[in-house]
């Protein structure tokens, strides 16, 4: 009669792992209705007496109305003596019907009977949780279960939660998919090639006003290509499609820029390569082109709403500010910001090669290989710098973490430990990175290798802008960095 699934589950978790299991956790783990989970707990508890004597303890929930004597009086004074006599008709007494007081109480099994006797009317008694030993007075242990449940529920469709577990559904509840959690996950999970490829441009685009910013791209791309990441390759192809904001003046500038000899050497190859890859890309993945324009605009819209609904990340705001200085339309800017977000994420995610578009990757890598010989020099440079850059982007910090462990008696103990945690949002590093780069401005190759530093030089002393760009690129910078500077 006893279902193997749940009894095994409960035996493992409670008797073996010495965990407390609430009905909610059980329902989440087994994907069953909470009412059924309560019955499972009951049945397991009943059977455990013979199977695991004294190893399973139950906590009950009683709902109902307490006997008047034990009710904490919160009731109204019907005839309020102190109320102003002038305007207090007696009619309101009629409205003062008895106030229903319902109590929900958690009690350990030992005190169930006693607790029941304090109730005048019992609605339900159910097994709330099973645990190896009696819970502490404040039922702390159960909070851990609640946390697990929340982790499971997180990002689940409210409707699904209601259907599966029997939670009440709210017809109007719509979880927007633009919260931070939702926003980040798709990126890191399915790291799309496209965003990576785009990463370099947003920054230039943002600074459209700055003359040289756009030039770099051709140069930087080659460098990227030779780098272990295939991102660079896709960049060129994307640009035409994604960057709607590109103005003719930019193009002119680019042409001008490309005139310098060192760039020339690389650019033809790059271009051909780029076009090739673009073709390949388009043919290979039908999704990528669509993403470029439509998706970007969609995302930018999302971003707009995000910003309008009081964005939490200061750095975002900062970016926005720094960005809006430019001449582009807000939408473009936001799109660009989004791209920069994405690029950051990818940087952070330690060059996980994109999971999804593997086919593309392979292709682009092949292309890279072909191209590599002419680009040897830049390639080396990149090899030097790109890891460095990555290293700079990331950092470590000391964080105090609370670690909950259960001791032999089944009590939850909390230890605070200082742990080093890696993070990736510091722009102090970014700045320090940019400085060396600017000093080495004389060598064009170096420039090409790290897009951001180049810009600074290009901007003809507009270092501020460069820095801002950096910030925009860094994405997750905090306000504190402003003061540090």
């Amino acid at each position: 009669m006893v279902n193997d699934l749940y009894s095994n589950f409960l035996a493992t978790r409670i008797v073996h792992d010495q965990e407390a299991i609430t009905y909610r956790l059980l329902s989440r783990e087994l994907k069953i209705h909470t009412a059924l989970a309560k019955r499972y707990l009951y049945a397991f508890h009943a059977s455990s007496r013979s199977l695991y004597p004294h190893k399973v303890h139950a906590t009950y929930l009683i709902s109902g109305q307490k006997s008047p004597a034990t009710t904490i009086s919160g009731d109204v004074l019907m005839s309020d003596i102190s109320s102003p006599p002038s305007t207090q008709p007696d009619t309101d007494v009629a409205l003062e019907d008895e106030i229903v007081q319902t109590t929900f109480e958690l009690v350990p099994e030992e005190e169930l009977e006693e607790a029941k006797s304090t109730f005048r009317k019992i609605g339900y008694v159910s097994v709330y949780s099973l645990e190896p030993t009696r819970l502490p007075e404040d039922f702390i242990t159960l909070a851990e279960c609640g946390r697990k449940v929340r982790d499971i529920d997180l990002d689940q469709d409210p409707e699904a939660i209601s259907k599966t577990y029997g939670a009440i559904s709210e017809p109007s509840a719509k979880r927007q998919q633009l919260g931070r959690v939702a926003f980040v996950q798709p990126k890191s999970a399915a790291t799309n090639i496209q965003p990576k490829a785009k990463a370099p441009h947003p920054k230039p685009e943002i600074r459209q006003g700055l003359s040289l910013s756009t030039k770099q791209r051709p140069v930087s791309k080659p460098s990227n290509m030779s780098s272990p990441f295939p991102l660079g390759v896709t960049e060129n192809p994307d640009r035409p499609t994604t960057t709607e904001d590109k103005t003719s003046s930019d193009n002119i500038k680019k042409e001008k820029l490309e005139s310098p000899p060192d760039k020339k050497t690389t650019s033809p190859i790059m271009k051909s390569d780029a076009t090739q890859s673009a073709v390949i890309k388009k043919s290979k993945s039908s999704t990528s082109p669509s993403r470029t324009s439509s998706q970007v605009s969609q995302v930018s819209q999302e971003l707009q709403t995000m910003f309008s609904s009081s964005e939490d990340e200061n750095d975002d705001d900062e970016e926005e500010k720094s960005v809006t200085g430019g001449t582009e339309t807000p939408k473009d800017v936001i799109g660009a910001i989004h791209e920069s977000f994405i690029s950051d994420d990818i940087d952070l995610s330690i060059d996980k090669t994109p999971a999804k578009p593997t086919g593309n990757d392979v292709k682009s890598e092949d292309i890279k290989m072909e191209i590599a010989p002419p680009l040897e020099e830049p390639g080396e440079e990149i090899a030097d710098i790109s890891p460095k850059k990555r290293a700079h982007r990331r950092g470590r910090r000391k964080v105090t973490k609370a670690i909950h462990t259960k001791d032999a008696n089944g009590f939850l103990t909390t230890k605070y430990e200082e742990v080093w945690e890696s993070y990736s949002e510091s722009d102090e590093e970014n700045i320090s990175l940019s400085k060396p780069a600017s000093t080495g401005s004389s060598t064009p190759i170096k420039r090409s290798s790290s897009p951001a530093p180049k810009r600074e030089k290009d901007v003809d002393g507009k270092k501020e802008n460069g820095r801002k760009k950096k910030l925009a690129g860094g994405g997750q910078s905090s306000l504190m960095s402003f003061w540090n500077k």
Partner: protein
């Protein structure tokens, strides 16, 4: 286990039986209902950053208040006193307080000001720099023997005396009409007093449906995110989501169409951890930073509340209102808590989650609700003897002002163009959050206005949540208790 006999007709052991695989359990859905914020009033509470200025004096707030409320009180007073004669002397209205003639029976309208020795006073603060004064309890400012009640208008101020005035509930900032005569010493001996009385009330839309609808009021959750978080909070959220108990309880929970979290949702108690951080060892390690030190920020309360609210918002529509402990401005009116503090919950913005100002007006299925986080009532409490929160709330409605002690002792923004706390309308439900205990009653106005007053207790201390029936205004209390805590 043997089923325990219970007196109820309900099958209380419904959940204490062996599971049947194919049994279908009911699931419930909340009714779609209108849960509007009354923007006409709320807009005045929400201050735009661009429009905020602190250059002006507070006097304009009092001036505006008197300008608006004087005609209303005068109307009530003239109805009551016109044509009345005392000692063969006909009572007449005097427009300005300073125009009162000695020995003449008349009535005047003005703003009450109570001079209280125990009230915080900026001049005292300065004095303290030179002399040390004994610390005094600030729980109450009231000291009936020494407090002087005055009435003032644009022209001046007159001292009110007499037993009538002493017995009335009065606080600084309320606008009243008083009837009496000036004594030889220049005081005004009060014979009678009138308030503006309840403002007009919109008729309540009575729904014809059999289904009940409730609004749940909870305040003082004080979520800390600590390990030792009170577990009642989790029980409450499980109940509201309909998972906690049996199907009847779930059904009841599904009748809750809206949840108002009325202030102090975040705990401002410092966790043991943060105290550790202040130990000398750590203090030395900490390097001085200019500006805000983000490492001192304790994100636990917001994270914990966020995950709770995100769960809840998926199941019921929720409004969160700030209280005096919450991370928003302290001065009244408190601005909505920035939704960025609750990133997960924020995803329900625009559907089932809102962050609202304190105070705030709602129109929920035709039920007009005015709610505060409780600060005005707590502040009035300091002015008077006794602790009848409901009377204070009722008197607020009769003063037609929901925060009379602002800006005197209740910190407030110096409004220039309007006094947003004046009530132009009487709500059907008036609640104050974070009160010491649950109290409720219905008051009836002269024009048939019916108002349900609810003092919403602090959940963290009482484990109580108040449900108010949208149609009948009946109230219900849910108590969440851990073993024994709710029993005595």
């Amino acid at each position: 286990m043997a089923p325990v006999a219970s007196s109820s007709t309900l099958d209380s052991d419904y959940l204490l039986s062996d599971p049947k695989e194919d049994e279908a359990f009911p699931t419930f859905e909340r009714r779609a209902s209108s849960r509007e914020l009354i923007s006409k009033y709320n807009n005045e509470f929400v201050l735009k950053n661009t429009e905020k200025t602190y250059e002006q004096q507070y006097a304009s707030l009092y001036f505006l208040r008197l300008t608006v409320l004087k005609p209303r009180v005068s109307k009530v007073a003239s109805e009551a006193w016109n044509g009345m004669s005392i000692l063969n002397q006909e009572v007449k209205a005097v427009d300005r307080v300073l125009d009162v003639r000695q020995g003449e029976f008349c009535w005047i309208v003005g703003t009450v000001y109570i001079e209280m020795a125990l009230k915080p006073n900026i001049l005292d603060e300065i004095t303290k720099e030179f002399w040390t004064t004994a610390p005094i309890s600030k729980d109450k400012f009231a000291n009936p023997e020494n407090d002087a009640i005055m009435l003032e208008d644009e022209s001046g101020r007159v001292n009110l005396v007499g037993s009538t005035i002493k017995s009335e509930l009065l606080v600084t900032g309320c606008v009243v009409a008083v009837l009496g005569s000036e004594t030889t010493s220049g005081d005004f001996d009060v014979v009678d007093i009138r308030f503006p009385q309840l403002a007009p009330q919109l008729p309540r839309k009575m729904s014809t449906g059999q289904e009940r609808q409730y609004v749940a009021l909870v305040s003082g959750l004080e979520v800390s995110g600590d390990v030792h978080e009170s577990y009642e909070t989790s029980m409450l959220f499980e109940y509201l989501m309909g998972e906690l108990s049996g199907s009847d309880d779930s059904k009841h929970a599904s009748e809750i169409i809206h949840v108002i979290v009325a202030g102090n949702s975040f705990s401002n108690r410092r966790s043991p951890l943060s105290r550790d951080e202040e130990s000398p060892d750590n203090a030395q390690k900490k390097k001085k930073k200019y500006g805000y030190d983000s490492s001192s920020y304790n994100s636990k309360p917001t994270e914990a509340l966020d995950s709770l609210l995100a769960d809840l918002s998926a199941s019921v529509s929720v409004d969160i209102m700030p209280g005096d402990q919450d991370p928003t401005n302290y001065s009244y009116p408190q601005q909505p808590i920035n939704a960025a503090l609750v990133p997960r919950t924020r995803r329900f913005l625009g559907s089932s989650f809102r962050s609202v100002s304190n105070p705030c007006w709602w129109d929920i299925e035709g039920l007009r609700i005015l709610g505060t986080g409780g600060q005005p009532i707590d502040d009035i409490f300091k002015y008077i003897e006794g602790d009848d929160r409901l009377q204070m709330m009722e008197t607020c409605l009769r003063w037609q002002h929901c925060a009379p002690t602002a800006p005197d002792t209740l910190w407030s923004y110096p409004f220039r163009d309007c006094d947003p706390f004046i009530l132009n309308e009487t709500p059907h439900l008036f609640f104050a959050g974070n009160q010491p205990e649950f109290k409720t009653k219905v008051i009836v106005g002269e024009d048939g206005q019916r108002v349900r007053l609810v003092a919403v207790p602090k959940f963290s201390e009482t484990g109580k949540v108040v449900l108010v029936d949208v149609d009948s205004l009946a109230s219900e209390v849910l108590t969440f208790a851990l073993n024994g805590t709710g029993r005595d």
